[in-house]
Assembly symmetry: D2
Homo-oligomer: 181 residues x 4
């Protein structure tokens, strides 16, 4: 069964809170093992271990925090060409709506594509005015009900794709589930 | 005195509502002439006329609407290399937070940079959890007070840069105004 | 066995030439059916048919051509939420290096993620100074040997991911092939 | 008269070489003072000093190097809201064409916009197949004639915008110069 890594950096604790909800969402799919790692304690082995990866960074001046960037620049440097094909997504907390959280997710997705990962966003809505089309974005703390739901939805979708593609469990495909719902 | 064009496409009327607030914000700076144009009625002459330009598009599948793209592909094609150096910014309404409005602003800014425009975002906050660092973004209708404020702030900042850079009115520089406030 | 669609728009014929090489690359993987469609003749049924999708657009002012955007805005509008999970990539020809072909690929990948597709780039190099980390990019015509190789490599990688993930043929995984090589 | 800062990080020396050419290009405009700073030796005072700023980073996994990011995250943190309105641009060297240099420039421009800078690209071509629409991009070393020209062109354009907008020297406007040429 598939493995999911939730890897994050956090300055204020907001992205850390998102990470816990993302991990909780991933655990909703039976059989998926979930590992939650703060960037300072994460290793290349964590990335090699996983089939699916959610990476979170605070939005710092519109893009990835330098600590999260350093992790990939230094710790993953010699694993490049050895991790292609894993499935990945992104999440970020910014200081406010319009503050660059979507752009930070985009930067994370670009970084992940560079490593050969297959990256995705979530089509579904997590609330009336809330989705996660390029990863989950939150302004400051994920406190509102739909912010929490958007974090869980991202983790769940990641686990679903891992179940479908790494484990071959086609019954976990979101389109099939929607049609049955 | 400087001229500001607010150019927009709108499907549901939400981006159109934003455009009116952006125009209102630009009028807050004395001496600035403001023109509001829906993309179907806009011409290359409108773009040539202006010193500062705010472009709005609905977020359609994460990027610019085809109608707004067609305007630049067709109507501005032979004005390329003749409009460098104007000052420009972007705004967009999406179906929900996390739905791609920041990415649509980014695509608009990329398009505008291609034409040689100097593009910018707003550093200031328009409310406790609301800014416009890469242009103004709204989920659906700009109804909440801080959504309206973020639209007006974008227009005002555009007009300020036009006043400072096109008109040479250094007293309109936002940093100087902040220090005096 | 999996199906690959190569969908493209082309103004000068350069992106069309890329599309033919991408299709040729996809055919290099046994068992993959390949369909090549110019945007004017493509339908939603083509997208529904495929497991893997390569989308090409000329770089027009730094982003997707309005014709390619219109295809998704109009023809795929009511298929949204029905196509999640397909695997996709991008390619583009621009007027010159530094002209925005990477940014056009990025815009295409954003559009594809909005539809729930899993998008990827190619880690491998197609020549000494040529790769396709976010899709294949070419300045004008794909004439140089490494430009042609980068197109074929993209198509081949797409077909490999389809073989691995849609067909369950793990022997086509690029990392495994590299280790055996 | 205006001041131009060329700020760069470099791993292999390639982006450093670009930086020297960008600085040389900026010096081509009379009256412009040019400062060249490697990121380790740069300070917030350098950024405050300048009217125009060119920032270069190696393309490391498709985006800004962690060292360049750290400079802004740490050294400029308390200058935010004090530097709005400066004019800025980007440059990057990647391992190969298609390797993410345009995306790295984009990430730099996003970062610079966050600080309130007005960012731009160059419309002109620096060679038959070479431009700098979103900043100057090079594969590895800037050795080819048009790579060197694209670096100089970026610096020159930056200095021109500083002359026009910070100094009020309208005769340096590129559109006017083109018409006279």
């Amino acid at each position: 069964m598939g493995n999911v890594l939730v890897l994050y950096d956090s300055g204020t604790g907001n992205t850390a809170a998102m990470a816990r909800y993302v991990a909780e969402g991933a655990r909703a799919i039976p059989g998926i093992a979930v590992r939650l790692r703060r960037v300072e304690k994460a290793t290349a082995a964590d990335v090699l271990w996983c089939d699916g990866l959610a990476v979170g960074s605070p939005t710092n001046f519109g893009t990835i925090s330098w600590k999260m960037k350093r992790f990939w620049d230094e710790k993953l440097l010699d694993r490049w060409l050895k991790v292609d094909g894993k499935i990945a997504c992104a999440f970020s907390s910014s200081g406010g709506w319009g503050g660059g959280a979507e752009l930070t997710c985009l930067a994370l997705l670009i970084l992940l594509m560079n490593f050969g990962f297959l990256v995705f966003g979530v089509t579904d809505y997590a609330g009336k005015l809330k989705t996660a089309h390029y990863g989950t974005v939150v302004a400051r703390e994920p406190r509102a009900k739909d912010d929490v739901a958007a974090c869980k939805l991202l983790g769940k979708r990641l686990a679903e794709w891992v179940a479908v593609y790494a484990d071959g469990r086609k019954g976990e495909h979101p389109v099939g589930k929607r049609e049955q719902a």
